[in-house]
């Protein structure tokens, strides 16, 4: 036989250039990432202080947590626009539950996450069973969840007075790391294992890669889609709990419009909107790049209108740069 079918040497000798061309965004994102860090540090040495880095991580925690869930949804070829509203509804539910049923911090958080998961479940059912495009389902849900949060609260903030709740979800530093960052790390690890090391992860990729082929391979694609929506909802619920703990209160209009940030983080991280492709570390990088831009430009003391312009341009440049 003249051909070597699988040869490890050939694999090893594959050109770096080709590997770069083949891999999806994240690899190059490291470059963009480093350049940003260097640039901002030169502009303001305060940027690269431990305090400020924790600052950035703390600020990106919410987006990262939600982006991890939304990335799963997008990898199955669907989309979730409802996370900002779900965050508010979950946070409000947790707070109201605690205020009305005995101030148990654990039950309160559980209720918040379960409310998020339930909304996600409904999104999933409507998408996977009734075959309504998820864009419309979750756009509708964006209104519904927000509306319910506003109705439940009469538009007023809901107070959170349980100090354990505050400290578990927002304050107690664990090894000097604030709680939201710890939660982010926990979420990232779970989603990372789920997506890249579990059988369920394989199903997610297959479902988004080619829905029909996945079905023909015996994958219950409906269950997969419903599950990812549920996870995305539950993580938005966790984000809501964190917001409620941070503010010692939550407003029903919290996190309005955050879905665009979350989507930006996911897509910037190399996840394809067409499904079947994505990496969790890409999502983290995407989210961090956005967080760094927000932080660095403010540290440079730039006018917000100009900040907005530069931020938009840098997002495009970061990606363009990776396409070379």
């Amino acid at each position: 036989m003249s051909e070597q079918y699988v040869s490890t040497t050939e694999k090893a000798s594959r050109g770096v250039r080709q590997r770069l061309a083949e891999t999806d965004q994240p690899l190059f994102l490291y470059g963009a990432f480093l350049l940003l860090i260097i640039g901002f540090t030169v502009a303001n040495p305060l940027f690269l202080t431990a305090g400020n880095l924790l600052n950035i991580l703390n600020q990106t925690a919410l987006v990262t947590i939600m982006a991890a869930g939304v990335a799963l949804v997008i990898i199955t070829g669907e989309i979730d626009l409802s996370v900002g509203s779900v965050l508010a509804l979950s946070g409000v539910s947790a707070a109201l539950f605690m205020n009305n049923f005995g101030q148990n911090w654990f039950l309160g958080a559980l209720v918040g996450i379960l409310v998020g998961a339930s909304v996600g479940f409904i999104n999933g059912i409507l998408t996977a069973r009734l075959l309504i495009p998820s864009f419309l389902v979750t756009l509708g849900m964006l209104s519904i969840a927000r509306g319910i949060a506003l109705i439940m609260t009469g538009t007023a903030p809901v107070l959170v007075t349980n100090a354990t709740f505050w400290s578990v979800f927002a304050e107690t530093p664990f090894l000097g790391i604030p709680a939201p960052i710890v939660w982010t790390i926990v979420v990232i690890i779970i989603v990372w294992v789920l997506l890249h090391f579990s059988v369920f992860g394989r199903r997610i990729f297959a479902t988004g890669g080619n829905l029909d082929a996945a079905k023909f391979s015996g994958i219950n694609t409906r269950a997969v889609k419903i599950s990812v929506f549920l996870i995305s909802g539950a993580l938005a619920g966790l984000a809501g709990v964190i917001v409620a703990a941070r503010g010692h209160a939550i407003r029903p209009d919290a996190a309005a419009g955050i879905e665009l940030d979350v989507l930006a983080a996911v897509i910037l991280g190399g996840t394809s909107l067409f499904g079947g492709k994505g990496k969790i570390y890409g999502v983290i990088l995407g989210s961090l790049i956005i967080g760094i831009l927000n932080n660095g430009l403010v540290l440079m003391g730039i006018d917000p209108s100009i900040q907005l312009t530069i931020k938009g341009a840098l997002v495009i440049i970061a990606v363009a740069f990776g396409r070379r």
Partner: protein
Amino acid sequence: SSGAGDGPASSDDPLTAITASSLTPTEVLGTGPLGEKSATVSSSELSAADLASIKAKSIKVGIVMQTMDIEWSTEQVRGIKDQVGALGGTVINVCDGQWDTTKQTACIDNMITQKPDAIISIPVDDVSMAPAYARVSEAGIKLIFIDNVAKGLKFPSQYQGMVTSDNQGNGAFAAAALAKYIPKNGVVGILDFGVDFFVTKERMRGFQAWMKDNRPDITVKVHEFQDPSKAGDDAANFLTANPDVQGMFTEWEVPAVGIITALRGQGKTLPITVVNVASDIALDLASGGMVKAIGAQRPYDEGVAEANFAGRAIIGSTNPSYLAFPAEPFLRNNVLSAWDDVYKSAAPSAIQDACKSGICGPAK
């Protein structure tokens, strides 16, 4: 670094013994669209004759807000609805402009279609909403403004009254309260809404004018933000870049919550003063947190006044062209009574609990 973390403890809090009203301006600072001085609050009360003829008309009123997602709007609407009801009329509709001139224009047009006797509205923008508001009088409908008058509209032909609170006065109060915490030649930071918006600019003007006149030694650093939902991040980043800041002011409660959250995340405390009350910042104030003073509006009372203005306009009586409610100052020592003034109801139990030691003074 600086004295940020070791701000005055509540026992020797410089505001403990101060009467809130001593920090507020003696008269309304803000002036009306024509530069006029505010009418008195009592000018919004109806005479018996007016009341009778309004009741005879069973008036129909429409409301067009800038947003309906915040408590301030809800309270305004509640005040209007209660009073319109008391006048024997009905509020046919509330429309939410969702902070968008195109959406608010649609609201106005939809409202005109329903032919109420009067529309009460706060413009999202006083300039580019003007043509839409001009259509209200063309349709024979009376128009009462909240907070801001659309540019170029004539009183009393195109609108028949404007009710607001003394935003400049509230800004001045917040400045006076904050100054108590700032040592000589200290630094304060302002988290300023970086978009041209009438009400926030007024509060900013009041704050800065007070500082310039009374504490010229203080350096004021202004940080502009444009997205209120990210104000907390902006505050955290601003405070990182400016560690010398010893106190913060911001123009309404949403960015204030952002500042508190940011400071907690950084493990710091700073005195904060703000305009516009809400339960979350009131709780922080009552429990000796970072919020030291709130210059409040009285949205419910304003709503009542607006309803009265509308009633008067409908029966053809005249209203004052400009009525501003004076600042309603909140310090820790008067939280409960000030709350009653604003909300007409007892403070939430969490605030009451925080006030247990009697530190917040008596309720009304």
